[in-house]
């Protein structure tokens, strides 16, 4: 079992060039997602999906980036990607074992196994994995599983011109990220924080192998503030189910034993 690998996406270094999106499409040879003018700043790919495994969000805000900046405007970029959660909804819900936890700690969909049941799609609290219209099965970022096997770094991280996307051993990334936040706070960027860096930061997923440095509320980047892998709560449902089953049996037996008699 190799060391756990992951991404640290530092949005303060992102220039919104979308190199990651294209590099990903090139390496994985994904089709385009349609030519769609959205009117959403420079974002025309809108969301992660079956054919878009990296997506750069563009946020225009009527406030300065930090108190140090002049003017009353800032433009945030953030390259979103599958989080490869430590507790992954898609993984735990996959009935076929098509989705697996790899030796690098990443979450991988085996295209030759997936039968397209669609359960992973509703089980992902980040809306990452999806099925394409014409396509029968579920797709998402593989953390370039094939490249990792040859000690090559993922295509997006390699292409990223400004080192906004950093790839490496999760532990090192976490260290580096903490340091980075400290530096930013010193420089006056007090609203900088890590999203999902550790289990403490995000108990619902027990930490993301692909975590982020953000400058505003998660919602602004279309990230959930307190996501939770559904299976953490499934116990309640099973108990309810068990109780119902028991009750059903009781009623049935009762009905059989007493319900049949003619009332007088």
């Amino acid at each position: 079992m190799a060391e756990t690998k992951g991404f640290f996406t530092d949005t303060t270094l992102c220039i919104g060039c979308k190199a990651c999106e294209v590099a990903c499409k090139q390496w994985n040879q994904l089709p385009d997602d349609g030519f769609l003018f959205t009117g959403m700043s420079y974002d025309n790919t809108v969301h992660l999906g079956a054919s878009t495994w990296r997506h750069v969000a563009f946020i225009e805000r009527p406030v300065p980036l930090t108190p140090q900046h002049d003017g009353a405007f800032s433009w945030l970029f953030s390259s979103d990607v599958c989080k490869h959660c430590a507790r992954a909804g898609c993984l735990e819900s996959c009935p076929t074992g098509a989705i697996v936890r790899t030796e690098y700690g990443s979450v991988y969909v085996q295209p030759d196994v997936c039968n397209g049941c669609g359960y992973c799609i509703v089980s992902c609290p980040f809306g990452v994995i999806n099925r394409r219209e014409e396509d029968g099965q579920a797709w998402k970022c593989t953390l370039c599983y094939d490249r990792l096997r040859e000690d090559m770094i993922p295509a997006c991280a390699k292409a990223c011109p400004t080192e906004s996307i950093q790839f490496g051993n999760l532990e090192d990334l976490r260290e580096h990220a903490k340091e980075r936040v400290r530096k930013l706070h010193e420089s006056g960027a007090h609203n900088a924080y890590l999203y999902g860096a550790t289990a403490e930061d995000q108990p619902g997923t027990e930490g993301l192998n692909a975590f982020f440095l953000l400058m505003d509320k998660p919602e602004v980047y279309n990230l959930p503030p307190d996501p939770c892998v559904p299976t953490k709560k499934v116990k309640d449902s099973w108990l309810a189910a068990g109780a119902t089953a028991a009750a059903m049996a009781l009623v049935a037996v009762g009905a059989v034993l007493f319900g049949g008699r003619e009332r007088v």
């Binding site: 994904l30 089709p31 669609g118 992902c124 980040f126 279309n222 307190d226 189910a241």
Partner: protein, 369 residues
Amino acid sequence: MSGTAVRYKDSVQPVRTDSRDIDRRVAVLTGEAADQQASGTAGEHAQKQAEVWRNLPQPEANDPTYYDRPLLNEPVWKWAIPTYDYIGGLTGAALVLGAAAQIGDTASRERLIRRCHRIGFAGVVVSAALLVEDLGKPSRVLNMLRVFRPTSVMNMGAWILMGSSVLAFGAFVLRPRKGRLRRVGQFCGYAAGVFGAALATYTGVLTGNTAVPLWQASRKILPILFGVSAMSSVGTLFELTVESAEERRLTKLFGTVGQTAELAAEIVMERQAAVVPRVARPLHRGLGGFLWRSAMLLTGTGLLLGLTPRHTRNRRIVSGLLGTLGSVLMRFTVEHVGTVSARDARASFHQQRAGYGAAEVTGRTAAVL
């Protein structure tokens, strides 16, 4: 000249192939997603779907979203799944009733038992068919049994359905026989009852065990709702068929309890969802709201009609139909409102900000800003 002319009309605009437009004579496509199917027209397709953002590109300060785009991907399930939920429930409940009916002196209930097993057997077959129907790659249905993955409700469901099928088949085929075979069949009947109970309720667990805010909020009540609705399904179905007085009374009791509980569960579900108003929206507004109300109304009237004394055959049929429709519609409605809920990013955001995200299990929210 033009006789020999090769026409190059197409070259006015490039020819789309598979949205990659790679010339296979000069390049090979072997990337991980090289097999992903995409017609060249996927583009136009997407065009139709997405609506253009009309306002200033700027998040709302106090209640931000990303251009009001969905956070989650909506369910890809089609009609087959809610139908499966209904049929599966019906089957399960029938097997339970069948098992119960095997208890004690069964002389007077043979026809009932037989009918239950027949429904059970037919049910599992249809259920399996529906399941396959909804798969993106039906040919790979057997992969459902590749592993035994407790965390995956659907995997559990697959095994449950598997078991139910075998047992229902056993009960249906063997119980009518004589001697040991009958005893085996008898056993199958009981065992099928156990699996049936699971089959009737696990779909509720499956639906609740998702990130869709409304379903998530209803995860405790959904198994109950689905279970009791299964009971009523059986009850109302038997209403439609002539029975011996005893069987009628018996199934009616079974069904009525289920129907009453179904109605109650629906009310509870709405209440629970409404704890975070935004989450309950789909139940109150638009098509979802209408369907939800209609389902309750159908079940309710069916119930009342059934409870009124002096049963004429027609009235039984009417109440039976109403009840059945109620249960069926309920399944479809739950499906629909879930889809609507998945489209609403704010539903998730509000829910989690209100402490119903991870905080529910971890006791503390992780949101920093």
